[in-house]
Symmetry: C2
C-alpha cells in the first residue's frame, strides 16, 4: 500500500538505494558471490549490478576478484566479496551468568570475541557498564577497527524498551527500569548508534540469518537459563510489537497450581521449564547456575534415574507450552537455544510426544524441531545483526566519496 | 528488500498500479473523500490523483460530485465516492448456531444481509452448502448484483487451510478435513474467486478496517461461543503463518487440572472461558447455546449471585489467558468479540484485575481493552473484506475499458 511520490528523479534515487541494499544484504548473508549469482538473487540486470558493485568497491565495502573457472563454457563471472574490516559492529551481551563482547565484520566474520563469567550478585548497572567497556576495549584493537565501527548492538536477558534501551524488567538480574542504553552509550564513547534488545529476540535473528532457521519464514526460537525467553519470526521478520516488549513466551501462565514466578505472577511457563525447575526435580541446589545443569546432564548420560526423570518431566512441560505456541503461531520450525540446546537430546522425545497429544493436528503436522546451530553465542551474533541493520537497509549512506554521490542524487 | 527490475517502462506501470491501489483502499476504507484529502492521504500529486480518478470514474468504480463549499477560501475540491454497486462481494458465515450471508459493495456498504439459526445437529457438509446457496440466492437479487460480484469470502468456526479452503478441524461443528471451499465454489456457480478463513481471523480484520481497532497496528481480537478463537493483528496486518492455521488462542493449555477440550487436549483456554464453562459455573444446562448464555446475563442483571459469580470466575480465567497473550504480543488493544462482547460489562473488571496481577508491567501498561464495535456481524464483514482484497491490491485489473489499458501497459 505504498504510494510513491513524483517526480521520477526522486523515485529512481529511491530505487538505486533499494537495489544497493538488496546487494549488500546478499553479500552480508552469504559471503562472496559471483556477479551472475547476484543477478539471479536480486533480479537486477547485469548492467545495473555492474554499476552498483562499482560503487561498493570504490567505497571499500566490497572487493572483486577473478572467479575460479569451473570448466563450464563462457567467461567466469568475477567474485564479489564483502570487506569485513571496512564496516564492523560491536556486539555486547549481558547474560545472567556471563558478559560477552564481539567485533563482527560485514559478511558476518567474527573478528574477535570474548566472554567472562560473572557472579549473579555482581549486577549493578555501574558494574555491568564498567565490565562491558573493559571487554569492548579488549576487542576494539587495533585502532583502525575502532574507527571502522558503525554501530553497537546489545542483548540483555530482560524486557527492553525499543526506543531508548531502557531495561523495563530483568528479574534474573534484579533490574527494574534501568537506563542501560543511555549509560552504555555514554561510557563507550563511540559516536555511532547503539541499540539494546532482548537476548532471545536476538538469538532468533541470528538463527534466521546464519543458523538453524536460515530461509525459514515462520520460526519460534526458545531459549533461556533461569528465565525463559523467546524470539518469534513471522513471515521472515522478527515479530514487531507496540514497544518491543513482545515475545515473552516464558511468561505464559501454564499452571495455576504452579510456583511463584520471578515476574510476580504464578505458574508461568518458565517456572516449569527453566533451570531452577530442572534442578529442583533432579534434587539439586537451585543456586548452581550452568554448572549445576551440566552436572544433571552428566548424571543423565551416566544413566542416573533421577536426572533422567527430571529431564523427562521438564521435556513434557516444554511440550505443553510449545503446543500452545504452535497453535497460536503455526510455525515451520522451533529452534531450541540456550539451556534448551543443551537439554535437547534428553527432551526431544517427550516434547514430541506431548506436542502430538496437545497441539492441534493441522499446525503440529507442519512443525519441525531442531537444536540451535549457533549455540550460546546466538544472542551475541544477533546483537551484531541488529547493529548492521542500518547499513543493510541503506548502504548508500556509507558510500565514499559521499560528496560525489550527493551531487549525483540531487542532479 | 525489493529489487526492482529495469526497464523503467515496466516500473512506471507498477507504480501506477500501486497508486491506484492506494486510492481505492482509501475510498473503500473511508467512503467519499475530496481530491484534496486523497492528495493528503496518499502522498500523490494533485495531477496524478486527477488522472487516476479519471480512470476509476470511467470504469464506474468511483464517481465524482461537486463538494459542498465549507466557507473556507479557494475552490471546493470535488468529492470522490466509491460506487457500491459496480463491484460487490458475497460474504458467508458458518457459525456454530447460525448461518449468514451478506452482499457488500465497494466502500463497505452492506446492500443486503440475512442470518438464520441452525440446530447444531444439522451440520453435514451437504446441508450447510445447500443452506448457504439458498441464502446466497436470496441476497443476490436483482440480477445486476449477481453480475457485479467479484469475489466470495467465507468465515467458518474452524481451522482452515488457506490454499484451498479445506476445513482441517471444526470441533464444534464435528468437522474434520471437510473440503468446504471446493464444494461451495462448485455449488454457488459464480465464476469468481472464493476464499475460506477462520471466522475469528475475519472478525479481527473487520474490526481493523471498520470497527474498534481502526488505525491500531497491534491488536488481539478475542471471540468465541462454545469454542474460543482469536485474530491477531501485527504491524497493521493479520498475523501470517505457514498454512493459515495460526491464531488458535483458544487452544493454549492453561490448566493441567482442567477439562478435556473438544480438540483432544486438556485444559485449553476455551475449556475455562467458553460458553460451556460459563453455563456450568452458573449451574445451567450446557446444551442451550446463545439463549442459555443470554439467560445467565439476564439473571446477572437482576442481581442473581450465582450468575454474577460465574461471570466473575469466567472473567478471571479470561484475564489469565490474556496475560500470556499480552506478554507474547505486546499489543495496543484487545477487542472482545462474539460471546465476549456480550459478557464484557460483567467481565471487564476481573479481566483488568488479573492482567494487573499476572501480565508483565511493561506490556500491560500499554494495552487497552474494548468491546467489539461490529458485534456478531464482525466475521461476516471480515469475510467481505477478504473477498475485496484482490480488487484493493490491484484495481487496475477491474478497470474498463480493459483493452485500452492493456495496450497502454505494453506500450
Amino acid at each position: 500500500m505504498t504510494a510513491r511520490r513524483d517526480p521520477v528523479g526522486q523515485r529512481s534515487e529511491t530505487v538505486r538505494r533499494a537495489n544497493l541494499s538488496a546487494i549488500v544484504r546478499e553479500l552480508h548473508a552469504r559471503g562472496p558471490l559471483s556477479r551472475s549469482e547476484l543477478v539471479a538473487r536480486t533480479g537486477l540486470t547485469r548492467s545495473a549490478i555492474r554499476g552498483l558493485i562499482g560503487e561498493l568497491t570504490a567505497s571499500g565495502l566490497a572487493g572483486e576478484e577473478p572467479a575460479i573457472p569451473l570448466g563450464i563454457p563462457g567467461r567466469p563471472s568475477p567474485l564479489v566479496r564483502p570487506e569485513p574490516e571496512r564496516a564492523v559492529v560491536l556486539a555486547l551481551e549481558i547474560a545472567v551468568d556471563s558478559l560477552a563482547a564481539a567485533l563482527v565484520g560485514l559478511g558476518g566474520s567474527i573478528l574477535t570475541t570474548t566472554r567472562v563469567d560473572r557472579p549473579r550478585d555482581h549486577r549493578t548497572l555501574d558494574a555491568v557498564v564498567d565490565d562491558l567497556v573493559g571487554l569492548a576495549d579488549r576487542v576494539l584493537v587495533p585502532t583502525r577497527r575502532r574507527e571502522a565501527v558503525i554501530g553497537v548492538g546489545v542483548g540483555v536477558a530482560g524486557v527492553v524498551r525499543r526506543t531508548d534501551g531502557l531495561v523495563r524488567m530483568a528479574p534474573n538480574l534484579g533490574w527494574i527500569d534501568i537506563p542501560l542504553g543511555e549509560r552504555l552509550a555514554a561510557a563507550l564513547g563511540l559516536a555511532v548508534p547503539l541499540e539494546v534488545t532482548n537476548e532471545a529476540d536476538l538469538g532468533a535473528l541470528a538463527e534466521l540469518r546464519r543458523g538453524a532457521a536460515r530461509g525459514v519464514d515462520h520460526v519460534i526460537y526458545l531459549s533461556g537459563e533461569v528465565g525463559v525467553g523467546g524470539g518469534i519470526i513471522v513471515d521472515g521478520r522478527p515479530l514487531t510489537s507496540v514497544a518491543g516488549y513482545g515475545g515473552e513466551i516464558g511468561h505464559i501462565p501454564i499452571n495455576p497450581a504452579g510456583a511463584r514466578c520471578a515476574c510476580g505472577s504464578i505458574g508461568c511457563w518458565e517456572t516449569e521449564v527453566g533451570a531452577t525447575a530442572l534442578l529442583r526435580r533432579a534434587g539439586r541446589s537451585t543456586d548452581g547456575g550452568r554448572g549445576a545443569v551440566d552436572a544433571v546432564l552428566h548424571a543423565a548420560s551416566a544413566g542416573d534415574p533421577l536426572a533422567l526423570a527430571a529431564l523427562e518431566e521438564t521435556g513434557r512441560w516444554v511440550g505443553v507450552g510449545l503446543a500452545g505456541l504452535v497453535n497460536v503461531f503455526n510455525p515451520r520450525l522451533v529452534v531450541f537455544g540456550g539451556l534448551f540446546e543443551h537439554l535437547y537430546p534428553y527432551i526431544e522425545q517427550p516434547v514430541r510426544a506431548v506436542l502430538d497429544e496437545r497441539a492441534l493436528r493441522a499446525p503440529a503436522e507442519l512443525v519441525d524441531l531442531v537444536p540451535s546451530a549457533l549455540g550460546d553465542d546466538a544472542p551475541l551474533l544477533g546483537a551484531a545483526e541488529l547493529a548492521f541493520e542500518p547499513l543493510l537497509a541503506d548502504p548508500a549512506r556509507w558510500l565514499r566519496p559521499r560528496a560525489a554521490l550527493l551531487e549525483r542524487a540531487s542532479a
